[in-house]
Amino acid sequence: MGWKPQSQLWPKQTAVLFIHGIGTAKPGSYDPLLKLFADSLGPAVAPGIAKYCVYYDDLNDWFQDKIGLASQLSALQGFVEQAAARETDPDLGAAIAAFLGDVLLPILNEAARLAVRDRILAQIQQIRLDGHKSGVQFQNQKISIICHSMGCFHTYEALHAASADPALQLLPVSDLMQFRSVIFMASPVQLIRTVAQEFGALIPKGHLAALSDQGVFRPSETDVVTGNPGYCARDWVSIAGDLDPVGGHFFKKRAPWAYMAPAGQTAIVEDQSFLDIKDKSDLIGILADIAVNGESSAQILRNPHSWDNYIAHHAAEIAGWIA
């Protein structure tokens, strides 16, 4: 077993776990993002936070090598292309489908998404133990998650497992594992749910919380004395850019079938006019270029899906949510 959860002593009572989206990340790839996060929060706050990042692209590689789901993935992308085209126009729909790329991949294989889920759960368990070892009893631990893009989907699945399975020792009430905050940045959970529902038998539905009959919701555990739900997170926050298709917005238009909106969510829709994207054709050019060239795209600084921008622009609010 090559992977081990990241472990460290906590400087104070606060820890933040970062869960990235699709890409080719390997350990260390998000160090610049963690530095940006620390710089954005400032020297008064940042040094007191234990920062963790869970990487999982190697797991995606396992399943791509073993199974190769390119044809099924292109079928899912075709559906998104048509649905997005209905919201906007055909060219933007095609660009959005290409930009989404592998975001839809985990729904095609149950074992693949369980492997990522287990890795996240193991990392959360290690974080709690680190805090305990640092002298912070469970009831005083302030743990938050900041996730991006497909990482939001995996986080969503992990939170549901944590709140439902006592064997994980991560129940919100019984195990005191209520996250201080979970901050979803450009979450595709609703988008994935819609696509998974559309494709019926093609999608393995076992262990897939995003397909619950109850819709997309915040998981909880019932307090047996009061009968009230103890939610998995004190603050469940969603931040989505109004030009970011992964977060359910197609050129400033919200698509309910693609936008995650569970009851009780703190929702922020970011005005992305700072990207200076003038019209749909400008957005199409940016999305298409990034889809092809990735991080080396000349348009990367105008990426409406940028995790860096979401963190930098909301640092003050994040500081409040994780405190």
Binding site: D65, E110, D118, Q126, R128, H132, Q137, L171, S174, D223
Partner: protein, 307 residues
């Protein structure tokens, strides 16, 4: 001779000291010291915390159920670290043992829910830290066990799906990941653990019959063959790392092309029949017939996802 004031104060001081000692001793006798760690200590800490917040007055019904659960758990001989295997459990049938373990775990879950929910809300942070420290310590050990279980499951997933597992072709993907995925032995079970089996339905381009294995002593023969069988993954710690402890073995039947050479069609003319056995990526086959022969091969895909 007159007594000095110092002499008259000495008996008083002794009396005060004596009274203080008696008070301390009686207080200590009343408050039975709690065990500091382990399962029994965790339960005792919950009892003490419930008494401190006067749970019986605040929530009488919950208090009764909590006492019942604590009594049941106290009597259950649960080993530290949540190894629910007391002496009485060893004599039970598997089904009875599972039922009892489920009851024990259910009771402890109730205790944790009340203690970490309602009771903690009625205690300030400092008092929680002192009173419920044994519960906190026991939960840390439970968490360590849970983490170890997750790591084991990740290792099992790596054995079945990781870089040392067998690569599948399109037909095998359809069969294993779409048709058979609902069967836990082929897919994943309710706990998210992978099943050990995988169907083999492949075309192997180049089985080699080495010269030494042929009775007539002629040179190497190459044969193409279709394989159908079952692959079994060794979902045990330490497996899947080298050729001696590979990720899997496979067994099944062979249909070999009569015509020698790579990329031959076994169905072009009446094929030869046989079987194969693999240990990891190393495969050995046998073809029966007039010219029974042993063949060797290595698991690989000539064209990815095809054969």
């Amino acid at each position: 001779m007159e007594k000095s004031p110092r002499d008259t104060q000495a008996p008083v001081r002794l009396l005060i000291l004596w009274a203080v000692l008696i008070l301390v001793a009686s207080a200590a006798a009343k408050e039975k010291p709690l065990p500091e760690s382990g399962f029994a200590a965790a339960l005792a800490s919950v009892r003490a915390a419930a008494a401190e917040i006067k749970l019986a007055q605040l929530e009488p019904a919950v208090s009764v159920k909590l006492e019942d659960s604590l009594d049941f758990l106290d009597s259950a001989d649960v080993a530290d670290g949540w190894a629910v295997a007391g002496h009485d459990l060893e004599r039970m049938s598997a089904a009875d043992k599972r039922e009892r373990e489920a009851r024990l775990r259910g009771s402890f879950l109730f205790v944790k829910n009340v203690a970490n929910g309602f009771i903690r809300r009625h205690l300030d942070s400092a008092r929680q830290e002192i009173l419920l420290k044994p519960l906190d310590a026991f939960q840390a050990r439970e968490l360590e066990s849970a983490l170890a279980a997750r790591m084991r499951n990740l290792e099992m997933l790596e054995i079945k799906y990781g870089p040392n597992s067998a690569k599948l072709n399109v037909v095998e993907v359809l069969v294993n990941h779409f048709l058979l995925r609902g069967i836990p032995a082929f897919g994943v079970d309710a706990q998210g653990s992978p099943g050990p089996l995988e169907m083999v339905l492949s075309y192997s381009t180049s089985y080699v019959t080495p010269a030494w294995s042929r009775r007539d002593g002629t040179g190497i023969l190459i044969a193409s063959a279709c394989e159908g069988g079952v692959r079994y993954y060794f979902l045990r710690p330490g497996w899947g790392r080298n050729a001696l402890l590979p990720a899997y073995m496979a067994v099944g039947g062979l249909l070999a092309a009569k015509e020698e050479g790579v990329l031959r069609n076994p169905f072009a003319m009446e094929p030869d029949f046989g079987g194969f056995l693999s240990w990891g990526a190393v495969k050995a086959g046998i073809i029966f017939g007039d010219d029974t022969r042993v063949m060797l091969n290595r698991q690989f895909q000539f064209i990815p996802y095809l054969f």
